[in-house]
């Protein structure tokens, strides 16, 4: 899940984290990051 690591940022126009290139594993890191938070018992995120 390291494709595009460091080549992504929060885009104010898109109101989302966005990869610089159309092919990236940027979402994967967000998906499993959220998974890890919940599995660790962190509060629900808004």
């Amino acid at each position: 899940m390291q494709m595009g690591l460091g080549h992504e940022s929060f885009d104010e126009d898109l109101m989302a984290y966005a990869s610089d290139f159309r092919i990236s594993e940027s979402f994967h890191r967000r998906f499993y990051g959220r998974w890890a938070e919940l599995m660790a018992g962190r509060p629900s995120r808004i």
Partner: protein, 368 residues
């Protein structure tokens, strides 16, 4: 980003242990920490338009009955009889004013109230408190643009907050035209021997696999492929809530390659852009996932689906075809046919994925 228990995920470095795809203990923890807490997709309102209409689905592994009551209100209950815990409704969908358990005959109205109990007078001596034993409702239920979600967590944030800015991305699929969408045909249900996270993450952001896994289908012209006019634009967008979408350039086209559909899409494009506003001039979302297990696609096929967990290495797919509710009938039919030919248990593209996902998830016990 957080560290998972025992350091199984290091999202900042892009590392995931393969244990999270196979281990029963981790799977059990997912049921409690994720599927009992997140907002989970249940159905689209067009699937249950009339009083009494119902579908059965699940939240995690818990069976759920979604039913529109005689007053027109949509309810979601555990699909479990309160007497001995038997599965109450065995049908996938239908219309009913009441539901009767096959075990001892307890009956519930489509509003969830317990309305009839055999031998209430002679065996229960009329001492049973019927009002206490209605069906168990979910903790919270809400809908967004016809998409019905529920959660078992009474303290979960409101649905619209849970979705956050991803609502705009959902609008690209479900509210791009006046009237929204409707589901056509029934549900496709089938099992794949992989962990639920594999297909969920794939829809949310794995555009890397498309031109390789699906290359043969693209080469013979079954899929939308890459248009010669494609700008090669687009990107992967995601939120801290774990939701994500794959996008293409704003003028790029990846609609199902069927003349009726392409003509229709070109016709509605001005309305679509007007409804979606200036952000649509920047990108065009075509595939996505709402965390944890609700995915949608409108390239090559128009489908949304739920990846229902059925064990650490088993997922049940519940897939539906959707169309713009006000689209001409011949476009709806063309979309339905193209969708099931490409995605679904017999779909060309889906079979490519069904081959890779189980093999990628399986790993020897000594190598994780």
């Amino acid at each position: 980003m957080a560290e998972a228990p025992e350091g199984l995920v290091d999202a900042e470095r892009g590392l995931v242990s393969r244990r999270i795809f196979v281990e029963p203990d981790i799977y059990r923890q997912e049921m409690e920490n994720i599927f009992a807490r997140c907002w989970l997709f249940l159905c689209h309102e067009s699937q249950i338009p009339r009083p009494g209409d119902f579908i059965t689905t699940s939240m995690g592994e818990d069976p759920v009955l979604v039913v529109r009551d005689d007053g027109g209100r949509v309810n979601a209950f555990l699909n479990v009889c309160r007497h001995r815990g038997n599965r109450l409704c065995r049908a996938e969908d239908g219309n009913a004013s009441s539901f009767t358990c096959s075990y001892h005959g307890w009956s519930y109205g489509n509003d969830g109230k317990l309305v009839a109990v055999p031998n209430l007078e002679d065996a229960y001596y009329r001492e049973l408190e019927q009002g206490r034993w209605g069906l168990m409702p979910v903790a919270q239920m809400d809908s967004y643009k016809g998409l019905v979600f529920a959660t078992f967590d009474p303290s979960a944030p409101p649905l619209v907050d849970y979705l956050g800015e991803m609502t705009w991305y959902l609008d690209n699929f479900f509210d791009r035209c006046e009237g929204g969408i409707e589901v056509v045909g029934g549900v496709h249900r089938w099992n794949i021997g992989c962990n639920w996270k594999f297909p969920s993450e794939s829809f949310g952001g794995d555009n890397y696999h498309t031109m390789w896994t699906h290359l043969s289908a693209i080469r013979v012209g079954i899929g939308a492929g890459v248009s010669p006019a494609s700008t090669g634009g687009g990107n992967v967008v995601s939120s801290a809530g774990g939701h994500g979408f794959q996008t293409i350039g704003p003028s790029d086209v990846k609609d199902p390659p069927v003349p009726e559909i392409l003509e229709y899409e070109a016709f509605i494009l001005p309305e679509v852009k007007k409804r979606l506003g200036p952000r649509r001039e920047l990108l065009n979302p075509i595939v996505g996932t709402i965390f944890p297990n609700f995915s949608m696609l409108r390239a090559t096929s128009h489908t949304f689906r739920v990846w229902q967990p059925r064990g650490p290495e088993q997922v049940e797919v519940q897939a539906y075809v959707f169309v713009d509710a006000n689209a001409p009938e011949h476009v709806k039919e063309a979309t339905r046919l193209m969708s099931i030919r490409s995605f679904g248990p017999a779909g060309t593209f889906e079979q490519d994925d069904m081959d890779n996902a189980p093999a990628a998830g399986r790993c020897p016990g000594t190598w994780s």
